[in-house]
Symmetry: C2
Subunit: 365 residues, 2 copies
């Protein structure tokens, strides 16, 4: 079996603690199953800035580009709030997304039965929830130019960002959404603000055309992004796959994540286009949660989102569907067993730390 | 007492039905209290397009500019989905906002005690909720240029929108937020995406400076807009006043509205700067809900948001604080009494139509 090259970027805050659980899991898989993972590790975010003045070094970028998959923890923290914009922690993540051309960000929002009660939403609203947000990740207002602050004199400045989408970008992301919908409940909802944005008009048009030309077997709805946000809060189970742009996807996927009861649970996959020859996609896997600097280093962070991100990696990068299923099953099992990190604790459950939670999942795997 | 000039723009869908309740109320106030309202009425949205090919005519714009306050219903519907972008129903509303320079959009999200149970969120999460979203309304990606679709040839198009904010725009909207916070719980949370947007960097900087220079007695927090959306869903009572830009405000205020149990309940005020001489502000009042074409003409729409918008008009445009308080009290009273339109109906309550609901509120007033 060919060696599987993983490049690990634990990052800042709780990133390294969560990644430690995945490292243990990888060792266990190599030892017991002969899975053949080779890992290398680099710096991203604030720690990379501290080490060499950039949010990710060129050397680490090269390793990320060469790896079969990148596992990413989290970046940022108050320590780096005042560093220059170009080298702020997030710049490392944005460079990875852009240079690796990871245009498709898959963010499942799944409500684990054991946690349905801990959502701020009523149990019947979120129980059994299983939606997938497909967010465009390399375009839109995140990367459009001009992006600058101009000094107008007289104490006035002007901040400018540019939202840009080309036909091919909308086509390829909606293709991903339709393909995934076919493996699920066959229903895509596209969200934009075509009533105020020209990019929204184009988005709507291209999604409609792509649907008509290649995916007319899938049910397609269009929703304005503000109404979509409301509907997510009102009755999220009406959705299967949601496809939307970079900025709306950022907002809507965070909201969807929060519905499920804990953002500490949710993974994501960021995928590139399949290589013409090898058919392999560049890929990066990361938890939806951030670096949570307030709880970093305390050993109480929830490692589940990071472990679930690795499950997505097994599934999408290595076709290890059985292992992915078993890993996701192990997560559900320890939750059923009553183990809880602090963020998802409720009375009657057993509170455990990051290491215990990770070990329990590995033991069940 | 000087005549108070109101310009009514009922618009499309359920707009006219909801406005009918306010018209009755205005007549009653003129007769019984001698309130001295003079009303004129115009067309906006799809009905304006049908009548004269524009989403609002120049003549009606002139009346809106001259009025003491504009009451706006709702615009849009499937009938006009295919009209050209420049004359789509929303263009009427956007022109009113821009030409009247209504830069400050006040969107209270209040949870009526009688309705706390009908939210999709747990009762304890929303009970007693009272937050105010202050949304910038004349800038940002809604109006920035370039805003266009370019044909690139080869079947490729490019959709472009521009997010722009100048120092003075951020300064004046944050001033409104700080002033309002002083009359409430003295706490402002500013939301942007400074980690990816230059306009967000400037937003953060200017709000911080405005706070330091003039409002340091108010508590100020900054939150990334995606995290803000999550926190709204997780524990909305942590907020008092939220100040944010046009697009984030659109999304976040709709989500906040949905938290309260029914979007059919919530009013909004859009205000301009005080005139240098007269100190009067141009103002437009409108429900947060849309035109709801699916239930239009059936007599079942909830008129409360429109009536509550008129209460805001009494308060902000005419200083009629007692009348505004009494009107808001009348709304709460009919809800306590068990009257419900279909959208907020729950077992054990009395279902009523638009007219009955309006009449009951007027009778209580
Ligand atoms: C860290 C930040 C740049 C990032 C984003 O805005 O995309 C994050 O919020 C996310 O959703 O992955
Ligand atoms: C109708 C539409 C243009 C409008 C907006 O996006 O501002 C609406 O959603 C609102 O929030 O008032």
């Amino acid at each position: 079996m060919a060696t599987k090259h993983l490049f690990l970027l634990p990052g800042d805050g709780i990133g390294p603690e969560a990644m430690a659980a995945v490292k243990k899991l990888i060792s266990a898989m190599n030892e017991k199953l002969g899975s053949g993972f080779a890992t290398d590790e680099g710096l991203v975010g604030g720690c990379a800035y501290d080490a060499h003045g950039a949010a990710i070094s060129d050397a680490d970028m090269a390793k990320a580009m060469a790896a079969d998959a990148v596992l990413f923890g989290a970046v940022g923290g108050p320590k780096w709030d005042a560093v220059p914009y170009e080298v702020r922690p997030e710049a490392g993540l944005l460079r990875l997304r852009k240079d690796m051309e990871l245009f498709a960000n898959l963010r499942p929002a799944i409500c684990y039965p054991a946690l349905a009660a801990s959502s701020s939403l009523k149990q019947e609203v979120v129980e059994g929830l299983d939606i997938l947000i497909v967010r465009e990740l390399t375009g839109g207002v995140y990367f459009g130019e001009p992006k600058q602050i101009i000094d107008l004199g007289n104490g006035q400045k002007r901040g400018i960002d540019t939202q840009v989408y080309d036909t091919f970008e909308i086509e390829r992301i909606s293709g991903v959404a339709f393909e995934l919908a076919r493996t699920r409940r066959n229903h895509v909802t596209s969200m934009e603000k075509r009533n105020v944005m020209k990019s929204g008009v184009l988005w709507n048009e291209v999604v409609t055309q792509t649907h008509k030309a290649r995916y007319s077997d899938v049910k397609l709805d269009h929703m304005l992004a503000d109404a979509g946000g409301m509907q997510l809060v009102r009755w999220p189970k009406q959705f299967d796959v949601i496809v939307t742009d970079n900025l709306f996807g950022d907002m809507l996927s965070d909201i969807a994540a929060m519905l499920t009861g804990s953002i500490g649970m949710l993974p994501s996959a960021s995928l590139g286009a399949p290589d013409v020859k090898t058919k392999k996609r560049k890929a990066l896997y990361e938890p939806v949660h951030g670096s949570a600097p307030d709880i970093a280093g305390k050993g109480i962070a929830n490692p589940i989102a990071m472990i679930a991100s690795f499950a997505m990696c097994l599934r999408y990068s290595f076709g290890m569907v059985d292992e992915a299923d078993r890993l996701e099953g192990a997560i559900a099992a320890v939750l059923d067993q009553g183990l809880r990190t602090k963020d998802i604790f409720s009375p009657g459950m057993t509170e455990v730390g990051t290491v215990e939670m990770g070990d329990a999942i590995i033991a069940r795997f």
